[in-house]
Structures are given as C-alpha cells and as structure tokens.
C-alpha cells in the first residue's frame, strides 16, 4: 500500500490529533516491520528517523464517557430492580423460578424492597439522562451512521458473524468499524433501553400514564416486559464481555483512549 497519503500526527494537550506543521512534513515510507511506518525528517545537520504507528480514531470522547457512565448506572438499576423483584418473584422458566429465594438469602438481597425502590427511583434520572444525551450526541455527531445497520443484508451478515465467532464458518465476515452483528446489537440495546424506560414508567404510574400502561399490554404485561428486558441486558453483558476479551487489548484500549492501532487484517 502507498503510505504517502498518511501524515504524522501529534496529540495536543487534550489528546486530539493535531497535524504537524507543513514545513515539518517528513518523508513517510513503509517499514520492514508490520504496521509501522518510518518517518524520516531531514534537518540541516542530521537525519532523524522515527517509527510511526498507524492509528484510527474509533470512539469519540463523549461516547466513551456515555458508555462508561452507563455501565455502573445500568448495573445499579438491575441491582435495585432485583431488590424490588424479591417482594413478588413470580417469573418462572418451566417449574424453575428465574431468581430463586435462596439466591436472595445467599447474597443478602432479601427484605430490601424499600431500599431497592429508593435506589431505583434515584438512579433512574441519571440512567435516562445519560441515555438521552447519548442518543442525541450520536445523532448530532453523525456517529449513528456507524452504529445503525443500514445494509439490506445486515441480518444475513450478522448471522455470518455469529457462525464465524462460533468457529462454524471459516471465512471472516466483513469488518468495518462495526460488523453487522455489532451494529444490530448496539442498536438493539438502545431500543431495549427505551423499552425499559417506557415499561418502567408504565409500572411506575399506571394511573397517571394509563395510556402507556395500556400500550404495554397492561400493568402485569408491562412488568413482565420490564423484567425480560433486564434478562436481555444480562445476556448482552455476558456476550459483550466475552467478545471484548476475545478481541484483545487494542480494542479494549480504544474504549478508553479512543484510538485503535490499525493492522493490515482490519484495515
């Protein structure tokens, strides 16, 4: 590949890439080492050779903050929700309770309904606010284009990703910023968040928001959907953590620093 179109970059004090001034543009050449480029700068009296790594901005600063703020908030909402659910733990899969009573006593989570409600109705504000800001920012910044699946074949491509990740299919699926499976799950999780807020409001205010409760299929149905969505987050969390662990350090680091090293295989 031709490296000539790439320009070396500095970070300013805020970590934003700032191009090096024109007169300093060095000669960029491919290095014998993979993923590295050699920047050669000729001064009057010496030649300076520096190894340059190829990077790409992956996650914008605001989105990194939204993500990491959401993580503990969602955890607290689930935790306090489970404290509330203890008082009426009706949901079963076949004969098995989804959360058996012994789990509550083992974790010391029983008899904490009041605490759970106060926590839930305290942190709901931060959870909703962070979610709304994320959606607004994603929309305004144009970042939604990377996230929302817009290809006709999104679902088929996502299935290919699943097959590949399960080692059933050999050839790797197309990986742009996000692959189709990522696009679908990252978009679905936002819709699920909206669903949790709406069904939550439907249970919270079934008289004042009776129309919303009606749209959720009634009081009991709203509670059931609210609960199923929570199970969905737990499923998402497990898959997400496994995938992040499998993707490795470069990918994880990009969620902290924003930048991902560019390798030939994902370029």
């Amino acid at each position: 590949m031709n490296a000539g179109h790439l320009r070396p970059t500095r970070m300013d004090s805020k970590g934003r890439p700032t191009p090096i001034l024109n007169r300093e543009y060095p000669v960029i050449q491919e290095s014998s080492q993979k993923n590295l480029l050699v920047s050669t700068r000729t001064h009057l009296d010496r030649r300076e050779t520096v190894l340059m790594h190829r990077f790409r901005l992956k996650h914008l600063l605001a989105i990194r903050w939204f993500h990491w703020i959401n993580f503990p908030l969602l955890f607290i909402m689930i935790w306090s929700g489970v404290l509330i659910y203890w008082a009426y733990p009706v949901y079963h899969i076949g004969p098995f309770p989804v959360i058996p009573k012994w789990v509550y006593s083992a974790l010391g989570m029983d008899y904490r309904l009041a605490e759970g409600m106060a926590l839930h109705f305290f942190f709901m504000w931060f959870f909703v606010l962070n979610g709304l800001l994320y959606v607004a920012y994603t929309w305004i910044s144009g970042e939604w284009r990377f996230l929302v699946p817009r290809s006709r074949s999104a679902f088929r491509d996502a299935w290919d990703v699943v097959l590949h990740d399960l080692h059933i299919k050999r050839e790797p699926p197309a990986q742009y910023k996000y692959n189709a499976a990522q696009q679908i799950s990252y978009s679905a999780i936002i819709l699920m968040g909206a669903g949790s807020v709406l069904t939550g409001l439907a249970i919270y205010k079934p008289a004042q928001l009776a129309w919303l409760t009606f749209c959720c299929g009634g009081y009991q149905s709203a509670r059931c959907i609210h609960f199923i969505l929570t199970l969905g987050y737990l499923l998402f969390f497990v898959v997400h953590v496994v995938q992040v662990a499998a993707a490795g350090w470069n990918n994880f680091r990009s969620m902290i620093t924003g930048y991902e090293a560019v390798h030939e295989n994902n370029g």
């Binding site: 190894l51 790594h53 008082a87 309904l113 109705f121 008289a207 004042q208």
Partner: protein, 257 residues
C-alpha cells in the same frame, strides 16, 4: 478498487509515535481510574449519607422531587382502568397492623378532626348516607402484585364536602389512623379528593370483613395499597405533612401510581 474510509464507515487513519501513544494511554487510563473512584465515592455518598426515615437524605430528596412532579401533574382525569365486577380476583389481606382485636361495627365510630373547629364523631350510617360509588379497579401492592377489586363506598371528596366545616379552604393534607393509631397514613389533598378515592364499606358487593378493614377503610386506587388504610378510626385534616407508617420505614411518602 480502494474503498474509502467514508464508505467503510470509519474515521481516517493518523500516524502516531509510540511514545505519544503510550503517554496518551497512560493518561486516559489514569483519568478512567480517577473517574471510577469518583463514581464509587458518589455512590457511597448517595447510599451512606445520614438517613431521614430510613432513607439516605439524598435519595429522600429525590423521592420528594419525584413526588413534586407526580403531584403537580396529577389530575382527576388520571384514572386507574376499571373492570366489570365479575372480573374481580383474589385479594390477599396483606397487613393486619391495628386489626389485632376484632371490632364490632356497632361499637365503632369515626372521629373527625377538622382543625380550627371542634372534633366530632360519625357513625357508619353517616358515611353510608353519602352517595354510594361502586368502583371495580386494580389494587396495586407496593410489593409488585395486584388484583382486581370491586369496592363500594363513598367518595372521600363527598365526605369532605359534607363534613368539613364550610367556609374554609381544605388544608393541604389528611391523616387517617386505625382506632389505636397503630397504623396511620398521610395523604396529599389532591389525591384524597381524586374521584377514585373511596371511604369503602363494601368489597365485592358485601360488607367488609375483619381482615379487609371492617367496618370502614380507605380504597385509594391511585396509590399503592399501603395507603389504603383499613379500619379507619380517625380522620384529621392538617396543613403539616402527616407522618405515614410505611414512609417511616423507608418507603416513598407519596406512593402515587
């Protein structure tokens, strides 16, 4: 053909020196660590601050803020959905605080304290003389369960209109208690006067039984069941926010639906 970054849905490449990357990584992980510590500190503060009625005060403030929004928005047209009387379901007699000794409807009386004017006593017949209202609606327990109940009784608003001394504005709150004040609830006046708030003496077409609060109880559909106090012995009108049995145990005072 080379695909452009835009077509590939990604940001353009940049070149960085390894030292720069290392510096930025170190800095950003440090910021992340500080932010995580701040988050833990914030959570500790919100959950370990001094308690007001069993709830750390920051959370109590937010419960009151939520109450302000709900109460401000509440109107008489916000109604719990109603059902046909044949749709009633089993109602668990959940609480028995203040009901330990049986009561005889003949011995029972209701003490009304309007404040400003002398208290007086009413009999069940005085409540039954008010226009009767039948209401079949969902009874929501704060524990999460609910059942459909057919209540029969007088609207609290009719009671207040008839028995609160005329010529004075109704105060902001009502306090209701069992005869020995073992159980007590506080209500905001807006919720008390709501059309689905009844002083009920019948359940499912029959006089209330002991476990469901005979001879007279509150059936306030727009609040959790903890507010539907059984065996009312006293109704007091007041301008100071009354105490409430479950609010003192760490629950939301408003408990509105």
């Amino acid at each position: 053909m080379k695909t452009t970054d835009k077509e590939k849905n990604r940001h353009p490449e940049i070149l960085l020196q390894e030292a720069t990357v290392r510096r930025k990584t170190r800095r950003d992980f440090l910021i992340a660590g500080v932010a995580a510590a701040a988050a833990i500190g914030g959570y500790e503060w919100a959950t370990s601050a001094s308690q007001e009625d069993e709830v750390p005060w920051p959370q109590r403030r937010v419960l009151e803020f939520n109450e302000k929004i709900a109460k401000g928005y509440l109107s008489n047209s916000h109604l719990m959905p109603t059902y046909r009387p044949d749709q009633v379901t089993f109602l668990k007699p959940n609480g028995d605080i203040g009901l330990k000794t049986p009561v005889n409807a003949a011995d029972w009386s209701l003490r009304v304290i309007p404040g400003g004017t002398p208290p007086f006593t009413l009999q069940l017949s005085d409540i039954q003389a008010l226009p009767k209202c039948d209401l079949t609606t969902r009874f929501c327990c704060i524990e999460g369960w609910s059942s459909i109940v057919w209540w029969g009784g007088a609207r609290f608003s009719d009671f207040a209109r008839k028995f609160f001394p005329p010529g004075r504005a109704l105060p902001h709150y009502v306090y209701l208690a069992t005869p020995g004040e073992d159980y007590y609830v506080g209500l905001d006046m807006k919720s008390a006067l709501h059309p689905q708030t009844l002083l009920a003496y019948e359940r499912n077409g029959k006089p209330l039984d002991q476990t469901h609060g005979a001879p007279l109880r509150l059936a306030i559909s727009i609040k959790y069941g903890i507010k539907s106090i059984k065996r009312i012995g006293m109704i007091r009108f007041t301008n100071t926010k009354p105490v409430d049995y479950w609010a003192e145990e760490g629950y939301d005072w408003f408990a509105g639906l």
